[in-house]
Symmetry: D2
Subunit: 283 residues, 4 copies
């Protein structure tokens, strides 16, 4: 049985040897190990892929022993995920279709190992795509006055469907703390600029006005502060004076969909860890 284990804890001598020794003692074969130390913050991070014998391995026993012998004494935060486990991913959209199409075509190709219980939107524009791909579509309109009520409906749907994480595929609404608190580091947004440049609305217009020679896209976990959450993935493309704002938008779409899908794939594969509003990406 293949598993991914993510660990972080205060850095201390011998920690790699201790963890790998423990896995080994439980019959695990370590296929892959990557680690990182943030020296300034004195935090140790590790990702392990291990193969355990299907017959003799008991995940409950393993977990309680890991907790007692490692997590507690070394003050570890840790998580174990079986490779066969499928996360449930909800997709929130508004009117732009490129990120949604990209995610769903990857999903259809088997590139994203998830279930998609539903697509949710504050508009009906993209319902036809949900239909094309036979995925339930919920339309929950949002106005200033109905925002709180709408988010309660969202939460209800998310819980009923046991959603593990949310992808904002160019969802043009600010997600409030009501939802964020229920999904900490589990809401992935795509912002159409090279953050921290051009946070907020209309970044391509701002980039054009500033006369930059490169535009970008940034995928990040959503936090209370707008466009300021931990960055998962970024990419850029060159532009020149000859490109109009509309060219920026067209070129940007290709960046957005690729960057978002990379971030989603990293999240699905348990390759991201968050601390101090930053990420460690084990890629």
């Amino acid at each position: 049985m293949k598993t991914s284990i993510l660990i972080n804890c205060p850095d201390q001598a011998g920690i790699i040897s201790i963890v790998t020794g423990f896995i080994h003692s439980k019959g695990g074969n370590i296929i892959y190990l990557d680690q990182h130390v943030d020296k300034a913050a004195n935090i140790f991070f590790m990702r392990l892929e291990s193969d355990f014998d299907e017959k003799s391995f008991n995940i409950t026993t393993f977990s309680s022993e890991f907790e007692k012998k490692l997590a507690l004494p070394y003050k570890m935060k840790w998580a174990l995920k079986k490779d066969t486990e499928k996360l449930k991913m909800a997709v929130f959209v508004s009117k732009y279709n490129h990120c949604l199409y990209d995610l769903l075509s990857r999903f259809n190709s088997g590139e994203l190992n998830v279930d998609i219980p539903f697509i949710l939107s504050n508009h009906k524009d993209l319902e036809y795509i949900a239909n094309q791909f036979n995925i339930p579509f919920y339309h929950i309109p949002i106005t200033k006055d109905t925002k709180e009520e709408a988010e309660q409906k969202q939460l209800k749907l998310l819980k009923e469907n046991n959603v593990d994480f949310i992808v904002l595929a160019r969802y043009m609404q600010i997600v409030s703390s009501t939802v964020i608190e229920e999904f900490p580091n589990k809401i992935i947004n795509i912002h159409h600029s090279f953050l921290p440049a051009f946070a907020g609305a209309k970044p391509y217009h701002a980039a054009f006005a500033r006369g930059v020679k490169i535009i970008g896209a940034t995928s990040h976990y959503v936090t209370e502060e707008l466009d300021a959450g931990p960055i998962i993935e970024q990419d850029v493309t060159a532009v020149t004076h000859s490109h109009s704002i509309s060219d920026f938008i067209t070129k940007g779409r290709d960046l957005e969909k690729i960057v978002l899908s990379r971030a989603v794939k990293l999240h699905i594969a348990s390759k991201t860890m968050v601390y101090n509003n930053k990420t460690v990406i084990f890629s």
Copy 2:
């Protein structure tokens, strides 16, 4: 005789035909033409490389006729440069040597068609490089109290040497309006971030703190507002959580020197035009 002509004026029908017809009528063969229209601002830009017969071409006559028949009626700003003309480039540095070494090794290879009358610094640290390359070095220290006086000394040197433009090759001082006004769009700076992200001091530290996945460098013309002048050239490189601030600095050095030298080469080749705090780059 080969020439570069840069033109900008309010956009109007037939302007390309009118200019090319004029060049043609003066015996010029147009080797290269690039043009751009900023539709929002309604400005037309053009760059022409033309070859004139050495014997029959009189630059004074040509210029006064261009002025009368084209520039005045069409409200053009324009400039003509002979390809044989060598600009005089002053280099300002402080303590970092990578950009200076890069510029001087290009200069020595014949890659930069300029004269370098002197290198100027507020520190003595890089005098040895000026000596290595046999270029006069002036040390003008700057303190808060002596800044104005120091800049007057700089201006004196710049004028005595008929300097055409200044390259700030990691010059760690803010250039004041005293100097900027004498060299409008003729001072090229390299900033060690992907502007407008991380303007000001210590951009690599700020980028590290924000957890970006890409760092950059930006070369721009210096204006009164710090790090906010028209951008000439930008480039970026990927970083990960595993890179320390010191890694950012090392990786950044390679970006800085390449981006700065590209900008300098564009300026030397008369391929840059400035308007509305942006650039048109004919590359």
Copy 3:
């Protein structure tokens, strides 16, 4: 009425002035001009976007006069396209769906200004996507023995539908001269390597075996020699020793679809010219 004009001819003095003067004399306003001279081959290339008065402009008169006054005396090859004209694009696929999904989602978003009369495949695997997007799908199986017959069927379909150009969206069959000759520089292929490296079958396997640190994708016009036609667009992405062949394939898919769509968009916009097995791309 907006038009694009593509021109190439032997290079000669004054040619830009002559063409722009002609356009101007016919009441055209040149919105955009780009030109290029291949000095070694002594060929002049130009692309013009011009705006003519809808009422007074007669395309037949214009064309015959252009032919007589410019094309004949200057030995020009030229083509004029109205911006409102929609090309008919056929898409050939086999079993991989990423390029097809990408093209069709762009098509649905209005990003590709074409008609798609049909999708054709030697397999039935992707029929469901044609159905998702309501586009006719033809299944023409190909074996060694039936290849000629199959290509005749293809040609019949192409002609019946007045197809202007063909996109091979990971079509895993070699197109023979029978089809190529009918569509010279009108068949766009995507090859999953950085050509000329790794032409032919299984380029990701070959790239992995060679231990390259960067992989690529290349879109080119199809010619008789396999993977050797004029290159329209290329892009690359970094890989490391830690990536398996399967990782190359996954990463490569993103390159392939982006590179192919860029090439298709350049072709649709009349921004490509072919000569000496190379392209001039006016972007």
Copy 4:
């Protein structure tokens, strides 16, 4: 005392745990660990940075025990390097100065932790740079008839100076097996193309003729087969139809010097391992 250890051996269960346990048992604190398994070839690779107590650590004892308890039973190839150890790097050049200038300016800045006992060339053109940087310069001309004799002279110099590795900084001579066999995987070359495309002479001319849209540079270890050794580092830059061969060469110079210096820095830092004509790069 900080050390880097490089290991490769047949892959086997528990190997990470065994090695880290051994280091731990010798009082070493593992600061950094990276590993890789080539599953097809069944080879395990590991790089460790460990900190040992200066007083109690005996490198001879450690090495002989590592040999007996780990290397022998697990069939390991391994190497240990103290971080304070300085390698001796010889630089071979011909007539192009950009890579040499780049290496020496980095060396002067303390970016390359090596000694440079000498620069060697088959031409006198770059002797002035050696003088600028006060590094001994040897001129050993090479003709078809004198090649063997010249390489004997080279070997003598290399041995007398205890050279650890050689950098071919645009050295325009084929290094024969006489020298390669003495420096296996210790001669770093920069080739001015994106290998395996355009191996051999005049790659920029070949790239221009093929009409590629991207050019590259490749740094690799030198093996008997020309331009076919294990690739350490590659990078690319975009070109268009408007770039001449001479533009390719100019743009390429910037790639070459950056790619070569990255490869040299990886080699110096013991971050490269070679197997099956490929590299594992622990970066």
